[in-house]
């Protein structure tokens, strides 16, 4: 009898979740190297247990980082690196190594290339270390100081279809199957930064869409409520 109320309530809870993901995408419209998230939802098949919020079933959900390239802008700062094409930088944090597209690096007091959090940029053989502050990065990732190649920046491309989990601070966890190999079409641009791949129009549409579906589901709860009200109060009334 009240099944429709639960279905509509579940849909509303799901739309709230979508709205939260959209809000996060928009909040990161200016975050260096940010990848937007997409929510995919479908009905639970028989035997599958859907994601629940309280008693409401939301269905089978999946948030997925969309790996399209963000806008690349010139900064002129030699320690800013952007990846044109596929691939990720590998950075070493205290809690392990992560993948990232955020290429705002600087030279640390000990001469290593680090990001704002002090996490070290990895080369093909250990962290990238610069003896001097004048250096060039070639498109293939070779780091050149005084005409000598002192290291090659490591780029990895997780296997196609591998889903990446976000770890916050612009980082992705290494996929369980290993970080993957060097991408064929990944090049490093020195003096450029890659922005976020959030598209304001798409997110606005998503906001409007989620909001209107939310309203529609609220209407169906109200209608269901009216029907129930009539059934309770009018059916069977004599005279």
């Amino acid at each position: 009898m009240t099944h429709g109320i639960y279905a509509a309530g579940g849909a509303m809870a799901l739309l709230e979740l979508r709205q939260e993901v959209t809000a996060n995408n928009l909040a990161n419209a200016s975050t260096t190297g940010f990848r937007r998230d997409l929510v995919a939802a479908r009905e639970a098949a028989p035997g599958e247990s859907p994601l629940r919020r309280g008693s409401l079933a939301l269905g089978i959900l999946d948030t997925r980082a969309v790996l399209e390239t963000g806008s690349i802008r010139q900064t002129g700062n030699p320690a800013d690196l952007a990846i044109s094409g596929d691939g990720f930088f590998v950075i070493q944090a205290d809690e392990g190594s992560f993948l990232t597209r955020a290429g705002g690096f600087q030279r640390s007091a000990t001469g290593e290339m680090v990001n704002e959090a002090g996490e070290r940029l990895q080369g093909e053989s250990g962290p990238i270390r610069l003896e001097k502050d004048a250096f060039q990065v070639a498109r293939d990732g070779s780091v050149i100081v005084d005409g000598n190649v002192v290291g090659t920046i490591r780029l990895v491309s997780p296997p196609a279809g591998a889903s990446l989990r976000k770890a916050g601070n612009g980082r992705f966890e290494q996929p369980p199957g290993g970080a993957g190999s060097r991408p064929q079409n990944g090049e490093i641009l020195q003096g450029y930064l890659e922005g976020s791949n959030v598209n304001a129009i798409r997110e606005m549409i998503s906001l409007v869409e989620a909001f209107r579906s939310y309203e529609a589901n609220a209407k169906s709860i109200q209608t269901e409520d009216q029907i129930l009200g009539q059934a309770v109060n009018q059916v069977g009334r004599v005279g």
């Binding site: 993901v21 928009l26 035997g47 705002g104 030279r107 609220a218």
Partner: protein, 262 residues
């Protein structure tokens, strides 16, 4: 309540801080030796809501959990130490460093600060000082009867004493450089302080060791590019606006819920 409300608020706060940084860059567009700052953002922690399909059928392979982010935050305002524009002044005590070195200035507390602002002057005691009256380090004193003070590209300060013909060498300027100048702490008054992130100062005479040479009679102005700042301002304002739309929509969604029960 909807997490989206606070998520969008973090976005608005981040954009507001960007506008603050841009306003400061623009306010210092004509400040000698000023280096522009740039804001850097990162996304916040992700909450894993539920692992979809974890107990699903064998055919359904949805490997990703539902991850919901909590917005963005400002991680750094990074100083960009590119060379600023050059301005000719003709004043021999206006100095420009053509390279990466910083002038050293001793503060009244005895602490050494660093600056790119080369507007030096001679005070009542004959010392070479900054506009704020802080003495240049190592200290230089110009005799009262000196006529023409000159500074060459290697930082040798010489003066012709009244009654003589040959200029007399007074002192040798020393510059400081840092492994990571972006790690210096801005102390206001065009001064920087050394931090553990910048690394200790390496001292050398101008022209040596990549310090850059001194050009007398010129000033280094700020490296702020007005067009660049304007574009950043527009972007920040629009991003601020769009985050406010997230808040509005979330708020309307809550209103819908509140009207479910009439």
């Amino acid at each position: 309540m909807l997490r989206a409300l606070s998520t969008a608020a973090t976005g608005m706060i981040a954009q507001q801080l960007t506008v603050d940084a841009i306003a400061n860059n623009l306010a210092n567009v004509n400040t000698a030796g000023y280096k522009k700052s740039r804001t850097e953002f990162q996304d916040l922690l992700y909450q894993t809501v539920g692992s979809a399909g974890a107990s699903g059928s064998a055919q359904s392979k949805i490997p990703v959990a539902v991850q919901i982010g909590h917005g963005s935050r400002l991680t750094a305002t990074q100083k960009i130490h590119s060379q600023g524009n050059t301005q000719e002044t003709g004043n021999p005590l206006d100095l420009l460093v053509e390279g990466t070195g910083f002038f050293q200035v001793s503060l009244p507390s005895g602490e050494i600060a660093y600056t790119r602002d080369g507007t030096f002057k001679i005070d009542g005691q004959g010392s070479i000082v900054t506009s704020d009256g802080f003495a240049i380090e190592p200290p230089v004193s110009v005799p009262a009867d000196a006529e023409a003070v000159s500074i060459d590209s290697t930082g040798k300060i010489a003066a012709r004493i009244s009654g003589t013909t040959e200029p007399q060498e007074l002192a040798q300027l020393e510059l400081a450089r840092f492994v990571n100048p972006a790690g210096l702490e801005s102390a206001g008054r065009n001064l920087y302080r050394v931090t553990s992130a910048s690394g200790e100062a390496t001292l050398a005479s101008p022209g040596q060791d990549g310090m850059g040479s001194i050009v007398s009679g010129y000033l280094e102005m700020s490296n702020v590019q007005v067009v660049e700042e304007m574009i950043a301002l527009i972007t920040a304002q629009r991003a601020y606006e769009i985050n406010s739309k997230s808040i509005q929509t979330s708020e309307e969604m809550l209103a819908v819920v509140n009207n479910l029960r009439r």
